[in-house]
């Protein structure tokens, strides 16, 4: 019988509090489920955002689906929803060949919001983040300074979610805080 005191706690890499810059507020996002879904020829399906165009995303609450490439989706859900999400994938794709890999602990998210959020991101992201070029529902893999990120804009709000790998989180968070300060 396992000693309950030995049950592992979960430590997120960023304990940082949100920064208080009103025009570009930077805050680490809570932990959640992230699955990397790779599948070919599933565009005709409507569930799980499989019908999205490349570089588009859909979001509802903690759930989101971002199509990052012809055969690649990043799926997000609340921390307790791993099995639910895996079940939905199984139901949607049946026997179709796919790769589902749990990357919940690989990915760390930082949110930046406010009227200067896009300008702050542009301190390190070379993409055009104007409403016309990067509207609500945009999602892409890109760069922030020297780190690779996935940049998500779930809604028309000036709120962007920056997902990076765990060991880059300190850099990415620090970069955004500095960028928000000098935007």
């Amino acid at each position: 019988m396992l000693d309950r005191s030995l049950v592992a706690r979960r430590d997120r890499p960023l304990g940082a509090a949100p920064t208080s810059n009103d025009r570009a507020r930077v805050a680490p996002a809570p932990a959640g489920v992230r699955l990397s879904l790779r599948v070919r020829g599933a565009e005709g399906l409507s569930s799980l955002g499989l019908g999205l165009a490349i570089n588009r995303m859909s979001a509802e609450g903690e759930r989101f689906s971002a199509r990052l490439g012809p055969d690649e989706w990043l799926l997000g859900a609340g921390e307790a929803e791993l099995e639910t999400l895996e079940g939905e994938i199984a139901a949607a794709l049946g026997d179709r060949f796919r790769s589902v890999v749990d990357v919940s602990h690989r990915n760390v998210a930082v949110e930046i919001a406010g009227p200067d959020a896009a300008s702050a991101l542009n301190a390190g992201c070379p993409l055009d983040l104007s409403d016309a070029a990067f509207p609500a529902g945009s999602a892409t893999r890109t760069l922030l300074g020297k780190a690779e990120i996935v940049l998500l804009r779930p809604t028309a709000e000036p709120l962007y979610r920056v997902e990076c790998w765990r060991s880059f989180a300190t850099y990415v968070h620090g970069f955004l805080v500095e960028a928000a300060r000098t935007a």
Partner: protein, 994 residues
């Protein structure tokens, strides 16, 4: 009296806001809106620096970013100091400390001025001619002396405390320059509703309109038009206005780099605001409205303080309300200087106009000026200036058909000269556009564009105000893709000039010092000497004489230099060509280029979930790629060697714990996963059972080892691949490259899981005892869970992939848990291990332990030229496989030839001697040099477990040399060592199966 040369009225300075700053220790008073240059002139200070080479007294030549002479050290507070600021660009404000450069002990008395007396020695190519022999003098004498004498100003001594920002931006139309042409272009482009960025290096938009006080546009004053235009532009949401922003580089795909000076002009900047911001703009279309530079005239001692450009005299009077002199002589070969002379006269200054053109070539401007009561001399040449540290007179003489008449000295305290205008085509040239020489304008003008770009206004050689506005508007509309032009009515601009090169003189040409490039101290004589010495290509002349080089980039000097070369060679100007303009247009601070990439943001520092624990427990860290890994855990009083010895013994005798989280991990998934693995690795994978692991070896196409790592089969269609720490991105790219380009038919997907898993290696005879109480759902017995197998279960309630693998040669487990659980599980394992004396060990002990077993490290035993057979791993290669990456290369003649270097062990004769890694190995230390080198040491450590030093080496035919004594270089001479099997510890290998 403060500011004795401030005019009683006029100028854009704010006379209600006085400011003060220091120059060479003296307090200078000025007004808000002044530049350092205009404030100095208001106080009668003309001598502001010493020239680069000859240390000649220099003043203020221009009013803008083309200033070659007035370069100052500017100190804005502790650490905020930088050299070579143009006094004509730095905005004067309270709290600045400025000083002159290149002088000692003082600006007025400069010992270095002896160079000027020796100027006949310091001719073009002086360094090349002089510092040639003796060769041994170069390192010890010439270079140190040249380095000490070189450069202007003093580099800062402490780290720059300022913040610098970076901004990528996109727009449809970028307009560089907000003079009349740029403003008109912006008005037209903005109407389209497209995104427009308008940038100008000045604090205020308007360019020449800021000092052209008499001009009118569309029936109103130019100033009223300017204000209305800016207001209109400001009203557009889609228009970004960037004053104090210099476009300095024009790169491919309309990528233009600009620096915005955000806070230098502020006495108390907003907290945290950056000093500068680097803009990297990707523009759909670019409109270059960069204006033009006035040319100096080339005559003897034309660099004397008080001699400036005619238009600059006008700017100081009209824009800053400053009299650069009370008695001003204008010398010109064109019409524009007449406007300056008229404005000077109107400001109540004494004015004489000297025109180099014969009377018949002068336009109506000469008669107009005479009507204003100004003496106008035509058909003149300038012989020289009088005075020392300030001009006191100008010596002129009538000149016709090359015959110089009687000299006349005109007393003066300021000279305004104009040799015509040179369009600022620097950015156009950087864009790779082709320049074309226009004889009528005596200038290289933008010709064929290489990018989506248009040049307008003076940058295109159009100097008339109405033409500037019309061409600007048309270009702005066209750039924005909208139809429509409009005509502008504007007051007439006096334009046109006769090109002159060096002026005719009756003086001894050997004595004449007529400067062409003021910043680099190049005279007309230097250029002619270069020509006589056979330098005919303008690019060679530039490098030999330094004309047009460095930060100045020939802004004021380019056309004069070309003209002199053209005349001396007797070839037309287009045949001479022009030099390439290089970015940056004006100097850019290192801070702006570095941006936020300093300190913690210099590079991402990757740390594992267990990093903090290691830091708390005394770990020293080493850098491995971007990762920071625990190197060893020295206790107080222990040095690294003692710590590593202790850690190594602990693993062999009890149990050690090691953070292996940085290992690269790739999840290979799909029905063709095993086939994919077969093709990528030398090993066979088809028959590897689920739950089993195999050491995988991966080659490049050339047959040399690329990477290695343990691979586990999690399911029929799923592999958990591990790579080296530094090789993870390389291996992932290598695999993706093959999958996407060579074998798109394979049903396989790759996902990097390096950071999904924290990896805790528990190694040593007690490893099983330590983890057993924490693991659930896995039978840990040797029978159920043998070496090289993997099980999924839980540890401390966290899901885990538990590997029974060992990089130490002892019983070992590698616990993979989702990264966020890493630290908690590590702490639990550590606590469970304490009764067994569990010892955290670092990468150094890991290296020693694996070397004791002869396990290679890719990048240490291999260097990109090592095959599997070279390191004794040929047995890994699947014989039955049809192909794998690198297979064919393994049959290359040189790969199968005898005599290749092979991995062996080396046991030094002196057991305590630890060889140097990289040391060369020879058979006979008595062989004459060059000796036959057999190979080199790849790994070398002291092994506490073996009680002696151990080394791995690559030695030619090494496996045939077992037992032979070879000799290895050491700092103290050769050391004897015996070739031995690379496995130093537990050669039977029983411990790993315990």
């Amino acid at each position: 009296m403060a500011q004795p040369h401030r005019l009683p009225q006029g100028g854009r300075v704010d006379r209600a806001t006085p400011i003060r700053f220091s120059f060479d220790g003296r307090t200078i008073e000025g007004f808000a809106g002044d530049t350092v240059a205009s404030a100095l002139l208001a106080n009668g200070v003309h001598l502001v620096g010493r020239s680069f080479k000859y240390h000649r007294p220099r003043g203020i030549l221009t009013h803008g970013s083309d200033e070659p002479s007035a370069l100052l050290q500017v100190d804005r507070g502790p650490g905020k100091i930088d050299p070579n600021n143009r006094a004509t660009v730095v905005e004067a404000r309270n709290g600045l400390t400025t000083s002159s450069q290149n002088r000692w002990p003082s600006l007025a008395f400069d010992v270095g001025a002896v160079n000027d007396l020796l100027s006949s020695v310091f001719v073009a190519g002086f360094y090349y001619k002089t510092f040639m022999w003796p060769r041994s003098f170069w390192d010890k004498v010439y270079e140190p002396v040249i380095r000490a004498a070189a450069g202007l100003g003093v580099a800062p001594q402490v780290a720059d405390p300022d913040a610098y920002a970076n901004r990528h931006a996109h727009c449809d139309v970028l307009i560089v320059g907000a003079g009349p042409a740029g403003l008109a272009a912006a008005l037209a482009a903005a109407k389209s509703g497209k995104r427009v960025i308008l940038a100008d290096e000045q604090p205020e938009f308007g360019g020449s309109l800021l000092h052209d006080t008499t001009a009118t546009i569309d029936g109103q004053s130019a100033e009223a038009w300017r204000i209305a235009a800016i207001e209109e532009l400001d009203g557009y949401e889609t228009v970004t206005l960037l004053p104090r922003t210099t476009a300095f580089g024009y790169y491919n795909h309309n990528h233009v780099a600009l620096t915005e000076r955000v806070t230098d002009h502020r006495e108390t900047p907003a907290k945290g605001a950056p000093r500068e911001r680097l803009w990297q703009v990707r523009a759909g279309e670019v409109v270059l409205a960069t204006g033009s530079h006035e040319r100096p005239l080339v005559f003897a001692d034309n660099d004397r303080p008080g001699v400036m450009l005619a238009e600059s005299v006008r700017v100081f009077i009209n824009r800053y309300g400053v009299a650069p002199g009370r008695r001003i002589v204008f010398v010109t070969s064109g019409a524009s200087a007449y406007a300056a002379a008229a404005d000077a006269k109107a400001a109540g200054l004494e004015v004489v106009m000297v025109d180099l053109r014969p009377e018949r070539d002068c336009g109506p401007e000469a008669a107009d000026l005479r009507l204003k009561g100004v003496e106008v001399l035509t058909g003149q040449t300038v012989i020289e200036t009088k005075g020392r540290k300030r001009v006191a007179g100008l010596v002129v003489a009538p000149c016709a058909n090359g015959t110089v008449g009687d000299r006349r000295v005109i007393a003066c305290d300021c000279v305004g000269m104009s040799g015509g205008w040179t369009p600022a085509v620097h950015l156009f040239s950087q864009s790779r556009g082709k320049l074309a020489y226009d004889e009528g304008r005596d200038a290289f003008l933008p010709g064929v564009s290489a990018q989506a770009e248009r040049s307008v206004g003076a940058a295109a050689g159009l100097y008339d105000l109405a033409t500037c506005l019309t061409s600007g508007y048309a270009a702005g509309a066209a750039a924005a893709g909208v139809a429509g032009g409009r005509a502008f009515a504007a007051s007439q601009t006096p334009t046109g000039f006769t090109p002159v090169r060096d002026l005719p003189t009756d003086a001894n040409p050997a004595k004449v010092r007529a400067f062409v490039d003021f910043q680099n101290d190049v005279t007309a004589k230097d250029l002619k000497l270069a020509m006589r010495e056979g330098f005919e290509s303008i690019e060679h002349v530039k490098r030999y004489t330094t004309t047009g080089m460095a930060t100045d980039q020939g802004k004021t000097s380019n056309m004069n230099a070309l003209g002199i070369v053209s005349k001396a060679l007797g070839r037309p100007l287009p045949a001479i060509g022009t030099t390439t303009f290089r970015p940056p247009y004006t100097p850019v601070t290192f801070g702006a280029l570095v941006g936020p990439a300093r300190d913690a943001l210099f590079d991402p520092i990757r740390t594992t979930p267990i990093h903090e624990w290691a830091a708390e427990h005394g770990a020293a860290f080493e850098n491995v790629a971007l990762w920071r890994r625990a190197w060893h855990f020295a206790r107080p009083g222990e040095d690294m060697h003692a710590a590593v010895d202790r850690e190594c013994r602990a693993v062999r005798e009890g149990v050690g714990i090691f953070d292996a989280s940085t290992l690269g991990k790739i999840e290979v998934v799909g029905p063709d996963a095993a086939e994919f693995m077969n093709r990528m690795y030398v090993n066979p994978w088809t028959k590897l059972g689920v739950g089993r692991c195999r050491y995988g070896l991966m080659l490049k196409e050339d047959g040399y080892i690329l990477d290695d790592g343990v691979v586990a089969r999690m399911a029929e269609d799923r592999f958990h691949v591990t790579t080296t720490t530094g090789g993870a991105p390389r291996v992932m790219n290598h695999m993706e490259d093959y999958l996407q380009t060579e074998w798109p038919d394979l049903d396989v997907f790759l996902t990097s899981t390096t950071e999904q898993w924290a990896v805790i290696a528990v190694q040593g005879p007690r490893a099983r005892d330590v983890i057993a109480p924490l693991v659930s759902g896995i039978d840990l017995s040797n029978e159920a869970f043998p070496h090289m197998s993997v099980r999924e279960g839980a540890i401390c309630g966290a899901p885990c992939r538990l590997f029974r693998v060992s990089f130490t040669g002892d019983l070992g487990f590698e616990i993979n848990v989702p990264a966020d659980y890493g630290r908690a599980v590590w702490e639990a394992v550590f606590a469970a291990g304490e009764p067994y004396g569990i010892t955290p060990y670092g990468t150094e002990a890991m290296h020693v332990l694996r070397a004791e077993k002869g396990y290679i490290i890719v990048g240490q035993e291999t260097d990109g030229t090592v095959t599997p057979d070279d390191v004794g791993l040929a047995g890994m290669i699947a014989k039955a496989k049809k192909d794998f990456v690198g297979k064919r290369s393994l049959a290359r003649p040189d790969v199968v030839a005898a005599g290749r270097k092979q991995l062996v062990g080396l046991a030094t004769e002196t057991a305590a001697l630890v060889l140097d890694e990289g040391a060369q190995i020879v058979a006979d230390p008595g062989e004459p040099i060059p000796m036959t080198m057999l190979g080199h040491v790849t790994s070398s450590y002291f092994s506490a477990n073996c009680g002696r030093s151990i080394a791995l080496a690559l030695v030619a035919d090494g496996r045939a040399l077992m037992g032979r004594t070879l000799h290895v270089t050491t700092p103290a001479g050769f050391a004897a060592a015996t070739v031995c099997d690379p496995v130093f510890f537990d050669s039977e290998g029983g411990r790993i199966h315990a």
